[in-house]
């Protein structure tokens, strides 16, 4: 068995933790981070204007709305933090991390999943509550939705692994933190 095959989860046709699977996500998360940071800095009055090619006053109206400011921190900054968490949790761990570090894969999944969900919600709120659109907010939402599925495959591999550990009588808790690694052969 080659080293590459050895990293593939049992019953899978590919390794979801391989770098070619993770690097595209790193790139689009970085793009999302830059966009959200830009919008957040406008909300913090560090930039006095904001780029909006299509919807006139839309971006300004949305970013200064009560929805965007309903939390103590502007939503752009929260989004930027979310993307930053995506980036960091994507970077940590080698190509077998679905097995050696399930905890980081689970945090990665939690960072990507709810971020995508909140993005969908914000896209709906723009026209329904505020009657405007915001180009960069829509771009950021598109990025976070595109990230969901490619992150979920790794989460699935980790959860399947933890289930196998439990079934074999091991401690899923220890396996979750990577303190015990179940020896298994790839089929």
């Amino acid at each position: 068995m080659t080293d590459k095959e050895n990293k593939i989860p049992p019953g899978w046709s590919y390794n979801p933790s391989a770098w070619p699977e993770r690097v595209p996500l790193l790139i689009i998360a970085a793009a999302g981070l830059l966009i959200a940071l830009y919008l957040g800095l406008y909300q913090l009055h560090i930039f006095s204007t904001v780029w909006e090619p299509f919807f006139g006053n839309g971006t300004k109206k949305i970013l200064t709305s009560s929805v965007a400011r309903s939390l103590p921190i502007p939503d752009g900054i929260i989004g930027a933090f979310g993307y930053f968490l995506d980036l960091v949790t994507n970077l940590i761990g080698k190509e077998k991390r679905w097995k050696t570090k399930p905890w980081i894969v689970v945090i990665f999944g939690i960072a990507v999943g709810p971020l995508g969900f909140v993005s969908i919600l914000l896209v709906i709120l723009q026209p329904v509550l505020l009657h405007s659109w915001c180009t960069l907010c829509l771009t950021s939402a598109a990025i976070s939705i595109v990230m969901i599925s490619p992150a979920m495959d790794e989460l699935l591999a980790s959860l399947q692994y933890l289930k196998r550990v439990k079934k074999s009588g091991g401690s899923a808790w220890k396996a979750f933190w990577g303190k015990e690694v179940l020896l298994e052969k790839n089929k």
Binding site: G11, W12, V123, P150, Q160, K163
Partner: protein
């Protein structure tokens, strides 16, 4: 895969149509809520690991079909939403080829 791309486009049509045609507030709210949801479920099911997320768009399509009748949509919004709803349901049934293997998929966790 092609069916899910078409569903994403249908979601986009729903989102954009109130800006092009004359829609009442209720009619455009329906499109502005269900459109982004349809796009999201379609995009999530582009990937084989989550291809089954397409079934959520059966629900979205049915909601559209119900909405045009209970909210009494007028002509153009009525036909746009009814057609989109029916097509969303039809395309949601198209699974497409699954070439990758996922150790039994999400079902294996049950």
């Amino acid at each position: 895969m092609w069916a899910q791309i078409l569903n994403a486009l249908l979601g986009l049509i729903l989102m954009i149509s109130p800006a092009i045609f004359s829609f009442t507030t209720t009619e455009s709210d329906v499109n502005h809520i269900l459109g982004p949801l349809a796009i999201s479920f379609a995009v999530i099911s582009f990937w084989q690991v989550n291809r089954n997320a397409r079934v959520f768009n059966i629900g979205i399509g049915c909601l559209l079909i119900i909405a045009v009748f209970i909210f009494g949509f007028r002509r153009i919004p009525f036909w746009i939403d009814l057609f989109s709803g029916v097509l969303l349901v039809i395309f949601s049934f198209v699974k497409g080829k699954i070439t990758q293997k996922f150790g039994g998929g999400w079902r294996s966790l049950l």
